[in-house]
Homo-oligomer: 409 residues x 2
Amino acid sequence: MDERKILLVIFDGLGDRPLTELGHKTPLESTPKPNLDWFAANGINGLVDPIAPGVVAGSDTSHLALFGYDPREVYTGRGPFEAAGVGIDLQPGDIAFRGNFASVDEDLRITDRRAGRIREGTEELAKALDGLRLGRIRVTVRAGTEHRVALVLRGRGLSPKVSDTDPHEIGAKVLDAKPLETAAKPTAKAVNAFTKQAYKVLKSHPVNRARVAKGEPPANISVLRGAGIYPDLMPITERLHLTAAGIAGVALIRGMFRTVGIDPIEVPGATGGLDTNMIAKADAALEALTTYDLVVLHVKATDLCGHDGKASEKIRVIERMDAMMGHLKSKLPSDVIVAITADHSTPVAVKDHSGDPVPLTIFGEGVRVDDVLNFDERSVAHGALGRIRGQDVMSLLLDISNRATKYGA
Amino acid sequence: MDERKILLVIFDGLGDRPLTELGHKTPLESTPKPNLDWFAANGINGLVDPIAPGVVAGSDTSHLALFGYDPREVYTGRGPFEAAGVGIDLQPGDIAFRGNFASVDEDLRITDRRAGRIREGTEELAKALDGLRLGRIRVTVRAGTEHRVALVLRGRGLSPKVSDTDPHEIGAKVLDAKPLETAAKPTAKAVNAFTKQAYKVLKSHPVNRARVAKGEPPANISVLRGAGIYPDLMPITERLHLTAAGIAGVALIRGMFRTVGIDPIEVPGATGGLDTNMIAKADAALEALTTYDLVVLHVKATDLCGHDGKASEKIRVIERMDAMMGHLKSKLPSDVIVAITADHSTPVAVKDHSGDPVPLTIFGEGVRVDDVLNFDERSVAHGALGRIRGQDVMSLLLDISNRATKYGA
């Protein structure tokens, strides 16, 4: 049987809960979305628990699961994926953190956790810290968007079991990293040495002198969180015997791509924000499908509206997503299996991730089309896929695309 | 509460995908099957993933799961079950292979992988190899149907981690078995010694001289594949505290029966082919239910039609299966729980196993009868059993037959 191609569309934080202000409907249930419904009506549908029923997934753990990995085996913290997302080349065993440039007073008390949401000069600041050596440990620092920063420690015998230095609070002192296991003592020591060194280097940096002169808060410290060890993963290309590309505006997801061996594709206008150019992303996905077996198309905007608690904005984003799906539908080659799902729910009423399952539609030749007519949380619950787990999704896609290998004989 | 008897009917490879040529229906959906539907309408229904969603199961791994074992713990290869199926008495630790009598030239290049589908004389050929000693390893060889053969190595410290000697290709040389782990070196050495010895013994065997004289390809080698270690399983009779019998035409399934402690019952006319006498098998099952607690009734024919890619033949087989179920229904004692399912899907369009889930109906006193009216892939998806795994089936049957033991107190 011919192998088919796979397009996996992931709408970040799409799942929601019914809202009183929407007449007890979810955002997905509150607006016409003819194209998403078309895929649901012509596909097989169900609900996905990213990790397990009721478990609130992060974007990192859920994407690992959707890519077929067991996060309980390979995930220690978000740092490595953020670091990979800003372009640092990590090696298995590296310890990585995500962090902020922040403002502190002379006692290292936080005066602004985001250094006034600094936008310019962060690359110079990162460069001033990049390449530091703390004993035998080499430090890599790279600036992310706005005030964000990624830090990687490379050396022997490092551990991700260290606490954050970010106190997450104005007026609090930058925290000492504490070892959460005995073997993590050298790592915690290195992190604390980095904190001191960063303050020393940054406080007198020309970028900060200029900021202070303009009355802006200086980015004179880097506070860290989300320590994780870069996992030694077998690339998805080897595990699943296919070629894979991914499209995502946000650095974290690009970092997930790089970590699991999915080639990230740059798309002009793919910002990871509300202003992202979804049609450009769809066109890039169609183009990638001409050369790759698996293409992942990630859209962040729904998650942002959930975190912001804005139902009407989430509905507007869903309408644009639907237009994107219509564009994809009109140009879709017949040998492509399309899966549409989310990495987790980000309900407007919660303003954060929740453990509610997310819709999944699989469309393409050979699927057992069911009676579901609409792509929303409640309609797909009646679908023939039933309720499955995030890690099952890739298995289902390999099966229906005739790419699975037999277990047994 | 009185314990009930259990009849587990397994239609091999029954599950399918919708076919354009059948108006986007599956074979099960394409023909009247009043008796199967009667069981569905009067039973509780659902979908079974033999191993896990999307995982393509072999007949061996899926039967282990349906019998309540975890294949990931006990399965290493198909060889031991084939060997048990042709009547070899295996012991835990034995390494077994399935194989073919094949034809090779003087360079051991394959000229016919099945020695002209040899039918006669294979028992004499097997006997000529049976009992060989390779150092401290004792070899058992038994002929299967047509060109098929089973080989068992018995000795200390053997490993199933050796590669096939069957090159699966005309014109290729018989392969050297390679150790896939260091501990497998002695096993690989023994297998390679067997290959040489087999050629030496077989090339001048009277059966082959006669074949060559008649212009037929000689069965002058035995090529091996599917190495596995005979597992040390607690018999199902002990695990589940019941007596068990099984009816199957094909050797593999009879081997599975023997391995897990299910008594195989010989039924004249049960061939494992399209010509199998299903009514005779049903009568034998009813007879067995008078003395056994659990009776497994396996029918192979649906799988054969799937592998051959013949939709109309699969439909004809389903009609005969339905007649068999009608026969069973008319004679069924009231204290029997009936389960009807499959070991995996073998879609006509795929011509091989797929990871699509299979229907399950459980009928009998006490089951929570649901709204499902038809026994097919899509109808049962709405059933009250939901989507479960192969290993859950035996637990459900023990429960509804009032044979389960309490977990906890």
